[in-house]
Symmetry: C2
Subunit: 252 residues, 2 copies
């Protein structure tokens, strides 16, 4: 089975199971354990999300523990899960489907609120920018970053140095109207903290603290020491994961 | 001085000062006390909001404790207030200005999310409706309720029976597109819990549980025992208060 899941990341230490902390994966595995007489299968997400990051369309798969229709799995899980995790959809998949390895595209959205004061009910789902950003410059910057590049300068220092840092960013565009802006990023995959570093770099461009030439240099001379600033996590949503043959709005 | 204030009502027992509970008014008075060497003046809001209800444009006035420009009052208060209360604007007003008695119009907005599953980060600012509402019937119902009527059937049982329950609802309309709907209500004043009861009645119409004829009867035979259902609080925002000569988006 594969499931599409939405979560409010505020009260989680991210997606991945860790001892003695509340994570999205461990809450879902706990709910599955209830349906399996105490024994829970491991679930496999399309990737991790960090502490504070939300999801509207994370995808995971698991080996079904009992015979139930996808609709039943969905309602049984939603009945057991805490209110900050909601299963949007469950579908049957072939036994060799893998939520991580089969993903062909991921979409993240980064939400910015550009105004002197931000409505306080948005503080856990937006990045508040008090200054007036130069949106035209940010759009040009997004155009520079779009495409297939070595994004080593836009990944946090993790993973083996020999691992490829080449990624294809199919979409990077700024949408919306002030005060509500949204950076949409689609790629075949993202490096660790890459979306937040792309957002961080574009925000610095919008503030006039980084030039388009300097941004081009970050791509031209890929270097993990050339770190772009990391934008805060609470504005980031894993929006959608696409699989081969899948339609835009469905998990598979 | 008069101030426009936004708050996330989630963690407050409403607006009004009460002993031993966290309220918006008491937090603002605490912040003012700091600026006044420990002695706080009472502030006067345009009206109370209930536990869990939010505001984008509540207005209050207070007697200034020291000579400061409105801009300084705003930044000093925002520096002292908790992050779930934000002062949007401070303006100088004449000494006889009263935030409650001078208000000529109030606008509330009630936010509905109509979809089988709701994104969990919205659960504290939306009312989740799983069924498909009959929006056309709800719009007709809103038209019935609009205007000057005795809204006794739409107020919770509080206040003296001889108090007038006549109100002029200038606007009551349903905006937005599924899944995000918004009921906008403007009146010269609202009775206790009136907006949530108007929303509750219209939701029942949308669900086919109340007819337009029954709705008309609630207006025709005003009676506090004819209680309309009260919609939950977390979807309600006090959006704007208008004063004579004031522009739409400003507090005075």
């Amino acid at each position: 089975m594969a499931a599409t899941v939405a979560y409010d990341g505020t009260d989680f230490q991210g997606w991945q199971v860790q001892p003695d902390t509340r994570t999205v994966q461990s809450e879902i595995e706990k709910a599955l354990a209830v349906l399996n007489g105490g024994k829970s299968p491991r679930i496999h997400g399309s990737g991790r999300t960090d502490t504070g990051v939300h999801a509207r369309g994370q995808v995971f798969h698991f080996d079904p523990l009992r015979m139930m229709t996808p609709e039943k799995w969905k309602s049984a899980l939603n009945g057991l899960l805490p209110e900050d995790i909601r299963i949007l959809k469950v579908v049957e998949v072939s036994p060799d489907f893998h939520a991580r390895f089969d993903a062909v595209k991921k979409q993240y959205r980064y939400f910015i609120y550009m105004e002197e004061v931000m409505p306080p009910e948005l503080r856990k789902i937006r990045h508040h920018v008090r200054s007036l950003l130069d949106l035209e410059a940010m759009r040009k910057g997004a155009g520079v970053l779009q495409g297939a590049h070595d994004f080593r300068s836009f990944s946090a220092n993790r993973g083996k140095p020999e691992t490829s840092t080449l990624r294809n960013v199919m979409t990077l565009r700024l949408e919306g109207e002030a005060p509500e802006l949204c950076l949409i990023a689609e790629a075949d995959g993202f490096l660790y903290k890459m979306v937040r570093q792309l957002a961080g770099a574009l925000l610095r461009i919008g503030l006039g603290e980084l030039s388009l030439g300097e941004l081009e240099n970050l791509l031209r001379y890929p270097d993990r020491n050339h770190l772009a600033p990391t934008a805060p996590p609470q504005a980031l949503f894993l929006w959608q994961v696409t699989y081969p043959g899948g339609s835009r709005h469905e998990c598979i």
